[in-house]
């Protein structure tokens, strides 16, 4: 009884794309690129790595997205503690920050950054779509 259940669970995990590791590397790499651009003062390049709605929310700020994203004081890239990927959504938990991403046709883009836990609700993010 136990073996078929385990086999089935594994098959289902594989079939529905729910296994966490798939896409973890690209999501982590996209997070690192975004935080590197912010650290290096490359606002326009950082904004290009934001999901459209997140970029639009900053575009309304003074100086547009490229300027606003640098003023947020996002923490630099720390050590990665955990990467979770479920479908087209990902969460990268760093020692310094928590970043949320969505997988678009062009790859992983940042939906939320500078996020702090705000239980029992969702994270409170400096940038969010």
């Amino acid at each position: 009884m136990r073996v078929p259940l385990i086999v089935c669970a594994a098959a289902l995990m594989a079939a529905c794309g729910c296994a966490a590791p798939a896409g973890a590397g690209p999501a982590q790499a996209a997070t690192a690129r975004f935080l590197d651009e912010v650290r290096d003062g490359q606002g326009a390049a950082a904004c290009a790595l934001l999901a459209p709605e997140a970029a639009e929310s900053l575009a309304e700020e003074e100086g547009g997205c490229a300027s606003a994203v640098l003023r947020l004081g996002l923490p630099g890239e720390g050590t990665v503690r955990q990467v979770s990927v479920w479908g087209d959504e990902a969460q990268v938990r760093l020692t310094t920050d928590t970043v949320f991403l969505h997988r678009f046709a062009e790859g992983w883009l940042v939906r939320g950054a500078g996020c702090r836990p705000d239980p029992p609700g969702p994270y409170d993010c400096e940038v969010e779509a």
């Binding site: 078929p4 259940l5 089935c8 669970a9 289902l12 995990m13 079939a15 529905c16 794309g17 729910c18 999901a51 459209p52 709605e53 979770s84 479920w86 479908g87 087209d88 959504e89 990902a90 969460q91 949320f100 969505h102 678009f104 046709a105 939906r111 939320g112 996020c115 836990p117 609700g121 969702p122 994270y123 993010c125 969010e128 779509a129």
Partner: protein, 224 residues
């Protein structure tokens, strides 16, 4: 070929209806999913991509598990409980597993019986309960599938809402899992209760699921 179709028309009809419904669910589900994706700033996906998604898998599995639970419960509960007047029930007084003579097993088996009906031991025990075992196994696996696919779909939604994902243990205790489960169970139990009770007083001429039109309301276990 024609004879094969005629002899198996009932199973073939429901198999084709199942496949047509499953395909229809894929297209309707993809359209619904894409509407939500666009509203949430995401991108639409094709029906082919949708059928490999956890959203499709959980919607399929949650219905499968409840249907198999319904039939499992009906198969097992009707061994021990009766409903006077229902064609779905044994007559009152015959509750239980019944004698070997009534069940045609052991020395009461005839030449048409399976050899497992004649034999004793584990093989006989398994064969004598095989319908319930297989339906129960499919129920458990479907429910497990619902929990795994549901976890994936739910965590995708949680991440899109900037919330932490849950692990499997937390998910199977979550209101989301039990809401999905119980909303299916309640409808299945209502359908069985309706069938058992309505078939006492109502008739469907020619259907073996109904008593003959002329049968008395009090007649139990009579199929038309």
């Amino acid at each position: 070929m024609t004879r094969f179709i005629r002899d198996n028309a009932l199973a073939l009809f429901f198999l084709l209806a199942f496949l047509a419904s499953l395909v229809g669910q894929a297209f309707a589900g993809a359209a619904d999913y894409n509407q939500r994706q666009i509203t949430g700033g995401g991108e639409p996906i094709s029906p082919a991509a949708y059928v490999t998604s956890s959203e499709y898998a959980v919607d399929v599995a949650e219905n499968w598990q409840s249907e198999y639970l319904q039939f499992l419960a009906f198969i097992l509960v009707t061994v021990w409980l009766v409903q006077r007047g229902s064609p779905e029930s044994k007559p009152p007084g015959q509750e239980g597993r019944e004698s070997d003579r009534e069940q045609g097993v052991g020395r009461y088996a005839d030449e048409g019986s399976s050899r497992f009906a004649r034999s004793r031991g584990l093989a006989h025990l398994l064969y004598a309960n095989s319908l319930g075992i297989v339906m129960g196994l499919i129920f458990v696996l479907s429910w497990l599938g619902q929990s795994v696919a549901g976890l994936a779909a739910f965590n995708g939604e949680r991440l899109s809402q900037l919330s932490d994902p849950l692990d499997w243990g937390a998910y199977v205790l979550s209101p989301e899992f039990w809401n999905r489960t119980l909303q299916n169970w309640q409808s299945e139990m209502l359908a069985v209760a309706s069938m058992v009770a309505l078939s006492i007083y109502l008739r469907q001429r020619g259907s073996p699921e109904s008593k003959p039109v002329g049968a008395a309301h009090g007649a139990t276990g009579v199929e038309g």
